[in-house]
Symmetry: C2
Amino acid sequence: MLSVEEARARILAELRPTPPETVALAEAAGRVTAQPVLARLTQPPADVSAMDGYALRAADGTLGAKLRVTGAAPAGHPFAGSVGPGEAVRIFTGSVIPAGADGVLIQEDAERDGDWLTVREAVTKGRHIRRAGQDFAAGETVIPAGRRLGARDIGLAASANHPWLSVHRRPRVAILATGDEIALPGEPIPPGGIVSSNAHALAALVRAAGGEPCVLPIAADTLDAVGAVADAVAGQDMLVSTGGASVGDHDLVIEGLKRRGLTVDFWKIAMRPGKPLVSGRLGTVAMLGLPGNPVSAIVCATLFLLPAIARLSGLPAAPPPVSQGIAGADLPANDARADHLRATLATDADGTLIATPFAVQDSAMLKRLAHADALILRAPHAPALPAGSPVSMIRLDTLGI
Amino acid sequence: MLSVEEARARILAELRPTPPETVALAEAAGRVTAQPVLARLTQPPADVSAMDGYALRAADGTLGAKLRVTGAAPAGHPFAGSVGPGEAVRIFTGSVIPAGADGVLIQEDAERDGDWLTVREAVTKGRHIRRAGQDFAAGETVIPAGRRLGARDIGLAASANHPWLSVHRRPRVAILATGDEIALPGEPIPPGGIVSSNAHALAALVRAAGGEPCVLPIAADTLDAVGAVADAVAGQDMLVSTGGASVGDHDLVIEGLKRRGLTVDFWKIAMRPGKPLVSGRLGTVAMLGLPGNPVSAIVCATLFLLPAIARLSGLPAAPPPVSQGIAGADLPANDARADHLRATLATDADGTLIATPFAVQDSAMLKRLAHADALILRAPHAPALPAGSPVSMIRLDTLGI
């Protein structure tokens, strides 16, 4: 059996980032930069005031000095003249420091009387002045390639004067659920059938990870129906299937797609929940076959599909983020398969995360998975741990899963 | 001066969740439930097999016994007859256990020869059978009201047979940037002007928090231009303004909107970066006035706007999530204002987060804020801390900010 780490490494090694596209700045949040973003201007573009007050020659700003106010320079309206000896110009936060001035008397320290002001606190040369280029200089890289853009990056790209950005196209992920026994929610349920939950759970997961899901119609359990999927996935970056990958009599997905050119590895992974996993390629489309069991499907998607979408999106190949905490209950020794215990989270007085696994970990209990906050990671052959021991976990609550 | 906590509590106390709307299950991820989701069916609907194998009477499943295979029940195709003494029916994971059977012989433990099989491992009654309702029973609440729906919840709602969900409408947040000196990215920049970064950074933040942003045109610095905003925000849940809230000569936003009915509190908050904050109401529209400085605007948005959007979305009133870690450098004693140190994160061998503040914390440095991973929280009058001391922080990287 393959380890989780080895399976993930093999899947990621086959994937390349999607090509770049140009998107409006306002639509770029959450996308991954395909090129570095270089500043198109210098910020601030000139020396500017950090405070409301008066620009003056610092040498004039001695305690008790009286200066004549010769004008004003609201932000956006630079003072046309220059500041001579004994003069001051009214300025505001962000105002360009007028020529001749090298000091700022802040408003609270100025006593104004008509065109005159009295200095109530001595001025220090250069203080309260933000130098041109203090934030960034024209030509400087402000955002590297391969970064997922958050709100702050959008602000930074805006201030660097970029109305458009070059980002990787959202990975297109087709999702295929198979099985005569499944029905879409609200549709008539066949006798002995169940409602399909995997396709839409996986679609939400793909979207949360920054991908563009495409839910394919449920494929009937025939070779022809499954084979036709090969036509439906043209132009997709990845095909994710669920079900049909056990060792039972109904493994039609692989057989049906093999007839259409699927090259495939069939893996047993040393993990729980989940075990069978299919990794393959159908032309240019990567394929990942997840277990049909909903809990196994989502756990496997967390471990393998999320990193795959991140990689396709332009991020480095990496496992899902792991957090540290302590066990809220005794954990039994683990067997040869990596376990992923569904657990709730609490926080102790120090802010330490306490992860307490549910007593029953049956992989058919979707409600319990949905109510979990984290998966406690138990390595193969991990020894028993008493409550309070450090544990590693994948937090599900912060991943949009 | 108000504390951060008091200001946040006052803002949140004025807000109520948006009304519910019905959305398709496939569009519900990230939304907050307005009503509990009750299971419309029992899952599993009948006793089903947890494995591929054979259904039989457990009493017949003794080591070495030979049983006659009388039929098959693929998942979705229940066996019409019943299992008599000495008989077995081929079943698969998810197959309904046929009448008469109370045990499952797993495939690996069965030796099949034509219509006959030999039991190679004794069968335990009830083992490998998932009982009807093990996951949930019809009528049971599977998702409470007031929960933000992740991918797992979507799967659970699907399996509970809900094609539609009742969720709170996305909060509509209008964003107003003011100032003669600002230009949109790519537009001509006036002399002494800068490119507007706040509006689009805040729009991305609103979207990351689950709100629907509406970026208003930049308002010129006149009372009439600002007053006209009152018409533009009809139907919005909140108006967020930036700039125009300092104690300078250019506080037109409040004055302009007061003429249109704005009732307003003007607060000085004991915090850094940021200090002036406006909280008010314009008819049914809540108003939050953020500082114009981009760093202050984003930090204040993290502390006040994110929780406000969460509350409007239907979540409880709460501060942004706080994580624990240790300081990567000595921290000086703090003054009377709560500080929010921009810091990078690393992880030590135990997985502990190490937050190292930038040496210079100037609030005009947007690039530095964008490159930060977290804000270290320093309470008013917090004592100096040596490197390695525990610190609380708001992680920006996981909030989409």
